[in-house]
Assembly symmetry: C2
Homo-oligomer: 192 residues x 2
DNA sequence: GTTGCCATGTAAGGTGTTACATGATTTA
DNA sequence: TAAATCATGTAACACCTTACATGGCAAC
């Protein structure tokens, strides 16, 4: 999957310029792309070449001209086909798990600190996400059902972070069983 | 983060050849790379150039020679530094969420089918993961603490899939409230 | 005699990122 | 005068993927 279908999706609402889309992507978290120019402008050109979009130049006073892109019938049907296509499973790429895989080389304190820092990072991300959702999405939400979908998409993100947080808690409590065994020279202290 | 630290991690256990590593990556799920040659062999060359690895050619009878890579002291300290570095939050890239964002264009049946198919996909992935974990990991697990870490890494994957599954269930039950309202020609039914 | 394993490596391309370039207008 | 916004686009590069190339040996 690439960003093209997300662009088609937005253009199925109404026409946008590349600059509009760039801002939308930059704002949104669920649309996880960075919103960089390169990708968006090139995608628009390609979609246009494939006949999925039409473009129209809008002249403005005091501001540079903008290229408004409109979805074509072909684009609509391409979008619809993608919508009903086999969904991919989520891509789970968590660098931290790989860090953990060799974290037995750290002593108890270092490991505990790593987990605490990861937990803080997760909390921060959760906060950023909820804050971003609070200040309006660029989402017209024309029907109740669409509102429901968008609410659940946002909730998916929260749920993932919360799931991760509770996993970290479990891990920390599991690891407490081993504390004091890393430096076998020292004798064990009671739960420090 | 890139694959190099994962490679350093394995070599901190014992020397491996590129071919060994390729197989390890291909087997493992938590190490989410595909295990393709290009990346592994080039990473090994680069790590070698950076002085983090030493290589030694092992001649064999009946089989082609292999290059055994050994981690250097510099490599060990680079690994250790990475292990204690600021952990990144998980990268959440779930294409399905983007598919859902415009799924209001589908009718009730199509949408329900999409969710069912996604659920099946998740169950399948969960199964594949647990099956892969069941048949031995390439993990020596020298200490109890390391065993615990690897167990929790594997459990993280299960937890993520299960979290996703319960989210789909919730979504499906939410959507049942709207069924029958997709064709607006029909008159509106009670509470809206 | 084709397929598969061992073991190395390269080519080509997809996807995404940051940073740069231009040039006018508005705001501090 | 410096910066931010509007609006377009390009350059360079990082990372990752599939597929190809070679070549001997073993198994069916």
């Amino acid at each position: 999957m690439n960003i093209k279908f997300a662009i088609l999706g937005f253009l199925s609402w109404r026409p946008f310029s590349g600059y509009d889309l760039k801002k939308i992507f930059a704002q949104s978290q669920s649309l996880y792309w960075s919103g960089n120019n390169n990708q968006i402008y090139r995608s628009l050109v390609q979609l246009h070449q494939e006949g999925l979009l039409e473009s129209e130049i809008q002249l403005q006073e005091n501001n540079p001209a903008r290229k408004l892109y409109t979805i074509t019938a072909l684009g609509q049907s391409a979008l619809r086909e993608w919508l009903t296509s086999q969904p991919e499973p989520p891509q789970l790429r968590n660098t931290f798990l790989i860090q953990l895989a060799w974290a037995d080389q750290l002593d108890d304190k270092e490991l505990e600190k790593l987990l605490v820092v990861y937990e803080e990072e997760l909390k921060l991300q959760l906060l950023i996400h909820t804050e971003r959702e609070r200040r309006g999405s660029p989402n017209p939400a024309r029907t109740e059902r669409e509102k429901c979908l968008w609410r659940m998409i946002s909730q998916n993100w929260s749920a993932v972070y919360q799931n991760e947080l509770s996993w970290v808690h479990q891990l920390r409590s599991e690891l407490r069983k081993f504390s004091g065994q890393t430096e076998p020279k020292e004798r064990k202290k009671d739960h420090e």
